[in-house]
């Protein structure tokens, strides 16, 4: 243990004495925040223009529209169905909500239907109107199910609901969408930097083999297992710092609301750092030179980071690619954070954690198996 600590300490001090490494490992993750600010920072205060096409004149419909009007930064205008296309393509409207005949009846029956949300902009824009709207409608239908068709009871429950819970949900929609986007952008970038740094740190193993220092180390009381463990620990330390720095700077300097508790976000990213280390070891195990490793890293990291929605929302990609993204650990990390942001409780996402953990475990196991095989063919102890 003493010798492992010695190795760790030495690697850290040699790594961070180079300015290049400080920039690469500790400053680069923050670039994501700046990109996010550039991309979404200007959005603050702009309003979302929502057109309403109403074919269902009833109390419930009017209330629903009123609810939408009550949201911050949302501008409601009533339009005719035939103008819908024009107004959207010309950019006057961001999205149009159509209430078809039978909407309020369906809500009262507890099975909401006959409502349509049309948009030519990405889900990033409409997602939040959608989620608030559906939440509202869900609440209505829950009430009506509780009333069990009795109009009197429904009215009572409904007015009680309007007075109490209703206002709760109307905190700034635009801000929530914006901060979700910014978080995604920042964390997406952080994920990429984490993967690159992990790959770099693991590459030290190959560098030491090429420099022969690895073999010299094995002639000291250090053995291959201890050496590998020290490398993994250094790697984890660096990634933990990256996550802490990014989350802290986001929160305290740029005031980007995570909408997730710091601890929860940290836990998810910590799980991801195991994945990053596991994957980087795997890539090293299958390369016999640093150039081979670099090629493999380029081949794997950049495309998977793109596919998994670290640079842009997955929703903008074709369905087929989205399916592929489901097999990528980065996607699962981002998805877990998104679900937390959307209000899922930490404990309800255990399946997500299990999947993230499984990715890490699989990568580590294959890497260690491959390492031990490499060693036995080269006959090194």
């Amino acid at each position: 243990m003493k010798d492992i600590l010695w190795l760790i300490q030495n690697t850290l001090s040699v790594t961070f004495r180079k300015k290049k490494n400080i920039v690469m490992y500790l400053c680069m993750p923050l670039v994501g925040i700046i990109i996010a600010l550039l991309a979404y920072g200007g959005n603050q205060g702009t309003t979302l223009n929502v057109g309403i096409v109403n074919h269902d004149n009833s109390e419930i419909t009017t209330d629903t529209i009123q609810f939408l009007e009550g949201l911050d930064n949302v501008e409601i205008s009533k339009i005719a169905a035939k103008d819908m296309k024009d107004k959207m393509t010309s950019g006057k409207l961001d999205t149009v909500i159509t209430f078809e005949k039978g909407y309020s009846d369906s809500v009262l029956k507890g099975q909401p239907d006959h409502i349509q949300l049309t948009s030519i902009k990405g889900a990033a824009i409409t997602g939040y109107v959608k989620s608030y709207l559906y939440q509202f409608i869900d609440n209505l239908s829950t009430i009506s199910r509780a009333a069990d068709g009795n109009e009197q009871t429904f009215k009572q429950l409904y007015s009680a609901y309007q007075q109490k819970d209703f206002k709760l949900g109307t905190h700034s929609l635009e801000n929530a969408a914006r901060s979700k986007n910014m978080t995604n952008q920042t964390i997406g970038f952080l994920i990429m930097i984490m993967m690159l740094s992990a790959a770099n740190m693991s590459e030290i193993i190959l560098l030491e083999k090429e420099n022969r220092t690895y073999f010299r180390l094995l002639s000291t009381p250090i053995n291959a297992r201890k050496y590998l463990l020290a490398n993994v620990i250094v790697n984890m330390i660096i990634m933990t710092m990256q996550v802490l720095i990014t989350l802290t700077v986001m929160k305290t300097i740029f005031h980007i609301g995570l909408n997730v508790s710091f601890v929860d976000a940290f836990f998810v990213m910590l799980l991801f750092s195991f994945i990053a280390v596991g994957l980087s070891l795997l890539m090293i195990a299958f390369s016999n030179s640093r150039s081979a490793a670099s090629a493999l890293q380029n081949l794997i990291i950049t495309p998977t980071v793109m596919l998994s929605g670290c640079y842009w929302p997955v929703e903008v990609m074709p369905k087929g690619l989205q399916k592929i993204a489901d097999f990528l650990p980065q996607r699962w990390a981002l998805d877990t954070l998104t679900q937390l942001q959307e209000g899922q409780s930490f404990s309800s996402l255990y399946l997500n954690y299990a999947i993230l953990f499984a990715f890490a475990a699989a990568f580590f196991l294959i890497a260690v198996y491959k390492f031990s095989r490499n060693n036995s063919t080269q006959n090194f102890v």
Partner: protein
């Protein structure tokens, strides 16, 4: 007690047998030379002793303990100077030695003392703050040694520590090997340079094709071949020399050419000098000098293995 005991050691790389059923004992206080041509199996043997390579068969004991079963004990007592320079370019000379010494559990003031001592030993104390990038080949070799001795091992293994370096560094290294030995270290020393081995080693093993073909002190080895002698004839030009014809002369064991010298190894019991000189006269080859040599290790090696140590 014997510092090193090797019994029936065998190492195969695929079908190739690099070390072949080797047995060897190195007693405390010895400077033990491994002499062998390229690919003889010296480094392979050494790597197994240092615990870097697994053997296929046989046992190695360091200070009486099996080096596979008690690897930590073995490693703590060995200082390995690898054939390929293994130091960190992005750490100073001081940091390099400190790092490796620290792996043996040294800390604090004691660690610092030992590091300084090791650097002084190889004559790099003035360069302790410099990075190896700026070092000459010889200085890197010396640092390579310093990294292996700071923890004061009982057994120091040096795999060709003097390859490709300037005479000053070489002298420094040879002197420090002797000093280490005087301080009580047992040393295993491999080299291509016959003169070095002859100069510093108290015992020598000649290795060829993974086997020890002769072992003993210089004198013992030389006595193997005292029934032959060497005659060196310096000629103006070697063009017209017919080696095969000389080889055919009665009593001649071996003939080789080294620059302008014709080196003839010949049976002491046969008086054939006249015959040899006659050959040169008849071929009209101008003789510049003639000397008779006592046998040295080079001739021992040549006679035993049939090949030269270097350049093959």
């Amino acid at each position: 007690m014997n510092v090193l005991e090797i019994k029936n050691l065998t190492k195969k790389f695929g079908d190739f047998i690099a070390v072949d059923n080797m047995s060897l004992t190195v007693a405390e206080g010895e400077i033990f030379g491994f002499l062998g041509a390229n690919g003889a199996g010296k480094s392979t043997t050494i790597n197994m002793i240092a615990g870097l390579l697994r053997s296929n068969d046989g046992t190695i004991s360091i200070l009486g303990k099996n080096n596979a079963k008690q690897s930590r004990f073995a490693k703590m007592n060995i200082g390995m100077v690898p054939q390929d320079i293994a130091i960190y370019e992005d750490m100073t000379a001081y940091e390099n030695v400190k790092f490796f010494a620290g792996l043996y559990g040294l800390r604090g003031a004691e660690l610092n003392e030992r590091v300084v001592e090791a650097l002084e030993f190889v004559g790099l104390q003035d360069k302790h703050k410099s990075y190896p990038k700026s070092f000459s080949g010889g200085m890197k070799r010396r640092l390579n040694i310093a990294c292996a001795i700071a923890h004061r091992p009982k057994l120091i293994i040096m795999d060709e520590p003097t390859v490709g370096i300037d005479p000053q560094s070489r002298n420094y290294i040879l002197t420090s090997v002797r000093k280490l030995n005087e301080m009580g270290c047992t040393i295993i020393y491999t080299s291509h340079y016959m003169e070095e081995v002859e100069e510093i080693c108290s015992k020598i093993a000649i290795i060829d094709h993974g086997k020890i073909i002769a072992e003993g002190t210089k004198e013992q080895l030389k006595s193997i071949i005292t029934n032959t002698k060497d005659v060196w004839i310096e000629v103006k030009t070697t063009e017209k020399v017919n080696l095969a014809a000389i080889q055919d002369i009665n009593g001649v064991e071996a003939v080789s050419v080294d620059e302008n010298f014709i080196k003839i190894n010949s049976d002491t019991g046969v008086n054939n000098l006249n015959k040899i000189l006659e050959h040169f006269m008849n071929s009209h080859i101008e003789i510049r000098s003639l000397q008779e040599k006592a046998p040295n290790l080079e001739t021992v090696f040549l006679t035993l293995t049939g090949r030269n140590l270097r350049d093959q």
